[in-house]
């Protein structure tokens, strides 16, 4: 019955995806042809394909689950996702990234910053960092998809993981970044429709917008009972300022991801493959609405699941307890118990769509970061075929990410929002290492090669130190601090143990980049002219 329906819907979805992929492939002979064909493409198709690449199972399952714990304060992340992740990213960063990428003939993010600062070391080191750290984010996206499949089909997490990765891997290896316009747009439309239905159904089921919010407000004592000591004051109010929950919500969830999105390598590459500034302007419209409907709905519904689970006699407890303390299982459990079977089937393909579009960009970025930026440019090993090197590296990236998706749920303590943490660590790391030199490289001529390198390595060192020795969420399960110093965190009993690495590492990286640049020689003007040609 249910499984048959879900299987049929999933198969139909996969067949349509393959058909669109074939259509895109047949109509374009090569990348140049693809661009020319794209001129005739409807702007809607162009724009929706953006959104589906940005949003993944991490945002919907992972951060939706986090909202069930932290409450609707997570919506600050939606605000930043739209204001920073779409508007500032597209209008301020996107246009200059595109132009400078073309000026320097750069095709990957590490290549862009490497050429901007004339540094193979920077290109190689950032390529290696992306390859090593991004599996954490890709792994988080995979966990989201596998968790939903396991819950829906009542199979083990390991079996779901295998099935999910197999489908995505075939798609990624067959596809790649180019020529996926139609499939991306198709996936985006599915995601959009599905989330609208989810929002309306949830509000309708709980008695309307205001009444459902009131119901969530009224059960605040349930949250205080469980997390009161950590600063939780209810799902419709912010946690107590300075408390454990406040630091986690503000520094890790909101800032880590909200700011980190600006320095995402797979996003920067996306800007360079945009045909013109007009596409970026149009992208702001669709992107803004799309992100609102994705993260806004996931976070609102995530928090409201508490009302549903508490009032449902079959559960009679708040979301995290109903899901056996597995935060990443809250949204899958809600969909499976509160929504009709046909919607569960639709949501299944939504999760596949959300993961496939994002993972294909991530795996391609990791493959090129390792193959082209680290191996070929960083350590100067010439390979016979760049395409083959990238594809082999992609294969390794898929294996590494799958391994993390298998391992991470065992790593963190029970009750942790693993997907959200995994995503936030990577995004925070990107912000601390790349953001100062990326911003400086695009907007000023005064940041020097030495400044950029010093900023990159100081951001990397500070983040790594904070993760391993201070931030208890990671230092405790990692165990390195305990082994070396006999304590789980060097922060002792202070609140520092709850402060996310980005809060410390990003300012350190900014200051180091600026100070070292002040005391080192400016880059030669000829090179700068080339970088900034056509840019004011």
């Amino acid at each position: 019955m249910n499984i048959l329906l879900i299987t049929i819907v999933t198969l139909v979805y996969l067949i349509i995806t393959a058909f669109f992929g074939y259509l895109g492939w047949r109509h374009t002979k090569d990348a140049t042809d693809f661009l020319l064909a794209g001129r005739k493409t409807h702007p809607f198709i162009m724009a929706v394909s953006y959104g589906s690449t940005f949003i993944s199972t991490s945002a919907i399952i992972g951060f939706g689950g986090a909202a069930a714990v932290f409450g609707m304060g997570v919506l600050w992340l939606t605000f930043l996702n739209i204001g920073v992740g779409i508007f500032i990213a597209f209008v301020i960063f996107g246009k200059r990234t595109r132009k400078m990428g073309h000026n320097l003939d750069a095709h990957t993010f590490p290549e862009l910053i490497g050429k901007r600062y004339n540094s193979k070391l920077l290109q190689g080191a950032s390529g290696l960092m992306i390859f090593v750290a991004m599996p954490l984010y890709a792994g988080s996206v995979i966990i989201g998809g596998a968790q939903f499949i396991a819950q829906t089909l009542s199979i083990s997490y390991e079996a779901a993981l295998f099935f999910f990765v197999a489908v995505v891997a075939v798609y990624v290896i067959m596809g790649g970044l180019k020529g996926v316009l139609y499939t991306d747009a198709f996936q985006g439309v599915i995601m959009f429709i599905s989330m609208i239905i989810l929002l309306i159904a949830t509000y309708w089921m709980l008695g309307g917008v205001i009444d459902s919010h009131k119901a969530l407000t009224n059960i605040a004592p349930e949250a205080v009972k469980v997390w009161g000591k950590a600063g939780h004051e209810g799902w419709t109010t912010m946690p107590a300022t300075g408390s454990v929950f406040w630091w986690q919500l503000i520094s890790t969830i909101v800032l880590g991801v909200g700011i980190g999105v600006l320095a995402q390598p797979q996003l920067a590459v996306r800007f360079m493959t945009v045909k013109s500034d007009r596409e970026l302007n149009r992208g702001v419209l669709i992107g803004g609405v799309f992100i609102l409907m994705m993260t806004g709905v996931a976070f609102t519904v995530g928090a409201l699941t508490n009302v549903y689970f508490l009032n449902n006699p079959a559960f009679g407890k708040i979301s995290v307890l109903a899901a056996d303390k597995r935060v990443d299982n809250i949204i899958p459990l809600y969909i499976n118990s509160a929504m009709p079977v046909w919607f569960t089937a639709l949501f299944m393909v939504t999760m596949l769509a959300a993961a496939m579009s994002t993972l294909s960009a991530q795996f391609h970025t990791m493959g090129s970061a390792f193959g082209r930026d680290f191996i070929e440019q960083g350590i100067n090993i010439k390979t016979g075929s760049t395409i083959l090197t990238t594809k082999v590296s992609m294969g390794f990236a898929i294996i590494l990410s799958t391994f993390l998706a298998y391992f991470l749920p065992r790593f963190f303590e029970q009750g942790s929002a693993i997907i959200a943490i995994g995503t936030a660590i990577f995004m925070g790391l990107c912000a601390a290492t790349f953001l100062p030199l990326y911003f400086g490289g695009l907007f000023t001529r005064r940041i020097t090669k030495a400044g950029a390198l010093a900023g990159f390595f100081s951001g990397l060192a500070t983040s790594s130190f904070w993760i391993m020795f201070i931030h208890a969420k990671e230092s405790v399960p990692l165990g390195l601090c305990k082994a070396l110093f006999g304590v789980p965190t060097l922060a002792g009993q202070s609140s520092l143990q709850f402060v996310d690495p980005i809060v410390i590492a990003l300012p350190v990286s900014i200051v180091v980049t600026i100070v070292v640049s002040i005391f080192t020689k400016s880059p030669d003007s000829e090179h700068l002219e080339r970088c900034f040609s056509g840019l004011r």
Partner: protein, 60 residues
Amino acid sequence: MLGLDGVGVFLAYIMSIFAGIGCVVYGIKNWNTPADADVDKEINEEIEWEKSDPENEERD
């Protein structure tokens, strides 16, 4: 406040919606910016850039 208890959450809720509306307004205002001539120039530039991509596979 829409049934929400804290000002912080209320602000997050409505500001997210306003940010979305702001993006729509910006997109509509700039839907045809830059003009066709500039876009054609940018597309040609993009084509040159694509051609030099080491991963650009020519197909028969």
